[in-house]
């Protein structure tokens, strides 16, 4: 349990790893918009190519990227089944039984929708979660939401909370391990019995964990105050984020991609769509 890397970040030095985290957030948003704007087979093909390209330049192993589909496989199947059976069509049905009729449009639509979910998960994965450390992400969010400070949104406090949460995840995992060992040593059983029984066995872990987390929080607050913490006002930062030229190149390309998707939607010679 101790060696689990939290989050899904895989350290590396690819082009995607080196992009400024703020720019990554921005292009990720553009990427998501693109995916939801894609309307026909050609624009989906374009997005599929783009996603494959992103996966390749992230230098994250394809196996790991594909593994990220596993938790959503049920949603994908669900989407496929519903789209196949519930999409009406204009031509003759390809097959019909009982109250269901399957049309060509339904099949196309099912494939495109499944593709949409899959490229959404894998693409945002390599753009953001796999290639950005959680702490860089917290910094990026703080920086991007900075203007909201003017209308008294506690952006700095929010980022600080995220940082501290990330800082304490390994500590709390260690603590959970220790509590579980202590309970096991006294004969507790976490791996047998019904689900209800196993969930109940977790209560004696959670209670001491919560108690100690609160105690830690209190001590940490005192320690922070001793180090002159008084909110975000007037603070400097050790690592300041700097946009580089390459970040704007990325932005340019993603805007270009978005425009391309719209153009393909509008002028595609292949009119298969849903």
């Amino acid at each position: 349990m101790k060696n689990n890397t939290f989050g899904q970040y895989f350290p590396g030095n690819s082009l995607l790893h080196r992009m400024d985290p703020r720019m990554k957030l921005i292009v990720t948003i553009l990427y998501i918009v693109m995916i939801f704007c894609a309307k026909n087979v050609l624009s989906f093909a374009f997005l599929l190519l783009l996603t494959v390209f992103l996966i390749l330049i992230s230098r994250i192993s394809v196996r790991i990227v594909l593994r990220s589909i596993r938790p959503i496989i049920f949603i994908v199947l669900f989407t496929v089944v519903f789209n196949i059976f519930l999409t009406g069509g204009t031509g003759e049905p390809l097959a019909a039984f009982w109250i269901f009729e399957i049309y060509r449009e339904g099949i196309v639509r099912a494939i495109l929708m499944a593709l949409r979910v899959i490229i959404l998960i894998t693409g945002t994965g390599v753009l953001l979660t796999y290639t950005t450390s959680p702490i860089a992400l917290a910094d990026a969010i703080e920086s991007l939401l900075g203007p909201l400070k003017k209308i008294h949104v506690p952006v700095h406090e929010f980022a600080m909370m995220m940082t501290i949460a990330l800082r304490f995840i390994p500590t709390l995992i260690e603590e959970t391990d220790r509590i579980m060992s202590a309970l096991k040593a006294r004969g507790a059983d976490f791996s047998n019995g019904s689900i209800v029984k196993r969930v109940k066995a977790l209560i004696p872990i959670l209670i001491p964990l919560f108690v100690s987390a609160f105690k830690r929080a209190e001590e940490l607050a005192v320690a922070m105050e001793c180090r002159c913490y008084r909110g975000g006002e007037g603070r400097t930062k050790l690592h300041v984020l700097h946009y580089r030229f390459s970040d704007f190149v990325w932005l340019f390309f993603f805007v270009l991609f978005l425009v391309s998707v719209f153009l393909i939607n509008a002028f595609s010679p292949i009119k298969i769509a849903y």
Binding site: T171, E219, C228, T236, L238
Partner: protein, 290 residues
Amino acid sequence: MSFIEAEHVSFTYDDGTPESVPALRDMTLTIEEREYVAVLGHNGSGKSTFAKLLNLILLPTEGKLSVAGHTVSEEMSEDDVFAVRRQVGMVFQNPDNQMVATTVEEDVAFGPENLGIPHPELAERVSGALECVGMSAFARHAPHQLSGGQKQRVAIAGIIAMMPRCIVFDESTAMLDPVGRSEVMATMEKLNREQGITIIHITHYMEEAARANRIIVINDGELFMDGTPREVFSRAEELRSVGLELTQSGELIHELRLAGMADLPNDCLTEDECVEAILRAYRARNGGAS
């Protein structure tokens, strides 16, 4: 004016309520700049309360306290409070619960960031502080990858980076293994010796207190003894009466003296001194033969 001046200072938890607990009573003492002071006391003696008064986590309920030239009072402005905290750093007992950031260097930078230190001085202070505690090689490590002693040294670096005049160690060695403890002790002594930082080390380990230049013993919230380690250690019976045990070598000498070897000096601090003293006494008995 001394760095810390306490006149008849008392502190009571939950003052004015039925549950009020007096933790410190009528403390009068001064601590000069550049001193290396150990504060001894058994659990619940009020020594940690004393530490918390020094950087204004707690304010005295009675008496007059001044720290780094600022007179402590309820009416102090927030800026004055932080001006004191900036000069009196504090290292706590649990190394895990005082690290804020996810990497060592960012944690060390936390204090100076709060002070608004600009670049490039900020980065210089961080690398300087890490070098001072010998943790430069770990700048990019995450806190959970470090041992207890290493974490505590990072915590010390975090304080050094704020450039305080005084560092209070509130039982900072209590949760460490012997290796970690000696690392922290060595760092403490180095800071006092090389940078002239006032060190106030709150502890219940006699061996650690013996290394200071001055020992203050607190018992039941009252100042019990105040003197050099030699003076304090020579009063073994009194120390024992307040629940403090001598070091093992001190204990040995004390027992030997009680057993009739009254010519042994009663103020040995280290094991070496103890060996020397016993040898000398032994030789004296045997008429100086070899």
